[in-house]
């Protein structure tokens, strides 16, 4: 392809090729502190469906080693989003080394707090806020569980913040480095925040899972213990490669839900959620 770059996020290397310069330039700027992979695990391609569509109403199609048929192209102004979606897609469809959980994660004292939930539940925002309060960010989208060790490996890609969460994080991380404001995306307005230096520097250091939370934003504060069997079912739904990993995935997930406590927390605002997180974490000790 005309333009390309390589980057490594946690244990996973990507090569991103593009028909246009801009998405690659943006990636290079935002991922400038990330290491290069020796050999990329996955390829992502951003391409124009027809040669003239590089210039005329340029629209970015996403392809790679693994593709979803019928995925809609994005306007060139959202090229960064296309690249991020392409990388996520490779992980979701192609990751076989780790059990992939659609969850955010943060670490403290070598122990990992995992948060999972539907889109809009607040897992990205909470992980990003915790990052500004002394926790190490493992990732806002995927946590990778090593079936051999049970350890949680980070995947600290750019933090994808949507709509109201953008202003919340702009206040919480005034020194943060940001990507462009992407308006009118399929998920509203999106802006990417670069994880802090600590998250990037320590991204190869796994953490032992210690607490699993199911946050749910927009409700009165409430908390309940989630039984292991419910955790298991919800995490299979939150994993795109559970079935593909077969028995090692079963082992990894059964061990995980047995070994750590889990709580569902409803919260009306982030202050309340952060207080719940800190209290539940302190109660582990």
């Amino acid at each position: 392809m005309r333009h390309s770059t390589m980057l490594r996020i946690g244990p996973v290397g990507f090569r991103v090729g593009s028909d246009w310069r801009a998405p690659v330039a943006t990636l290079n700027e935002l991922y400038r502190d990330y290491p290069q992979p020796d050999i990329p695990d996955f390829n992502v391609r951003l391409f124009a469906a027809r040669p003239w569509r590089r210039w005329v109403r340029p629209s970015v199609h996403i392809a790679g080693d693994f593709v979803l048929p019928e995925s809609a192209p994005l306007p060139l102004a959202q090229g960064l989003l296309a690249a991020e979606m392409g990388m996520n897609l490779q992980m979701a469809l192609g990751q076989r080394r780790y059990l992939l959980l659609h969850a955010s994660g943060v670490e403290r004292d070598g122990k990992a707090l995992l948060m999972t939930g539907e889109s809009g539940a607040g897992k990205s925002t909470l992980a990003a806020l915790l990052m500004t309060r002394g926790w190490r960010l493992l990732g806002d989208e995927f946590v990778l569980i090593d079936p051999a060790t049970g350890m949680a490996h980070g995947f600290p890609r750019l933090i994808s913040l949507k709509n109201e969460a953008i202003a919340v994080m702009a206040r919480a991380a005034p020194e943060g480095r940001w990507g462009p404001m992407l308006t009118d995306t399929p998920k509203g307005t999106i802006r990417h925040l670069v994880p802090d230096a600590r998250a990037i520097a320590a991204m190869d250091r796994p953490a032992r899972p210690a607490l699993l939370l199911f946050p749910n934003f927009g409700f009165d504060a409430a908390e309940r213990t989630v039984p292991a069997s419910e955790c298991f079912v919800r995490l299979t739904q939150a994993s795109t490669n559970y079935v593909a990993l077969a028995e090692p995935g079963f082992d990894a997930l059964a061990t995980l839900v047995r070994s750590i406590p889990a709580r569902a927390i409803d919260y009306p605002d982030t202050t309340s959620a952060l207080a719940s997180v800190e209290r539940l974490w302190d109660a582990l000790a």
Binding site: S229, V243, A246, E247, F250, A254
Partner: protein, 89 residues
């Protein structure tokens, strides 16, 4: 009269969690999350073939069932046979 036995033990990973039990079926790669009496039934049919009535008696004796339900057990055995966790012989 149908006789039933559990799928070979080597093909099943049975992991009790809380009130529910996980069964990973190696043959199909499918994970089943099951409630009582399925784990008890599979245990009763491990390494032996039983008729429906014998299975009912075995469950009733082992778990102090006051009111064993033959039709419900027949339905469960049908489901488990369909899933491959129990074999009809």
């Amino acid at each position: 009269m149908h006789r039933y036995r559990a799928a070979p033990a080597a093909t099943l990973r049975i992991e009790p969690l809380d009130s529910l039990t996980l069964i990973y079926h190696r043959t199909s790669g499918i994970t089943h999350v099951v409630d009582s009496p399925v784990p008890e039934l599979i245990a009763a049919l491990d390494n032996q073939t039983l008729t429906l009535d014998e299975a009912l008696a075995a469950l009733a004796a082992a778990h102090d069932l006051i009111d064993p339900d033959r039709a419900a057990l027949a339905a469960r055995l049908g489901e488990l046979t369909q899933a491959g966790l129990v074999e009809q012989v």
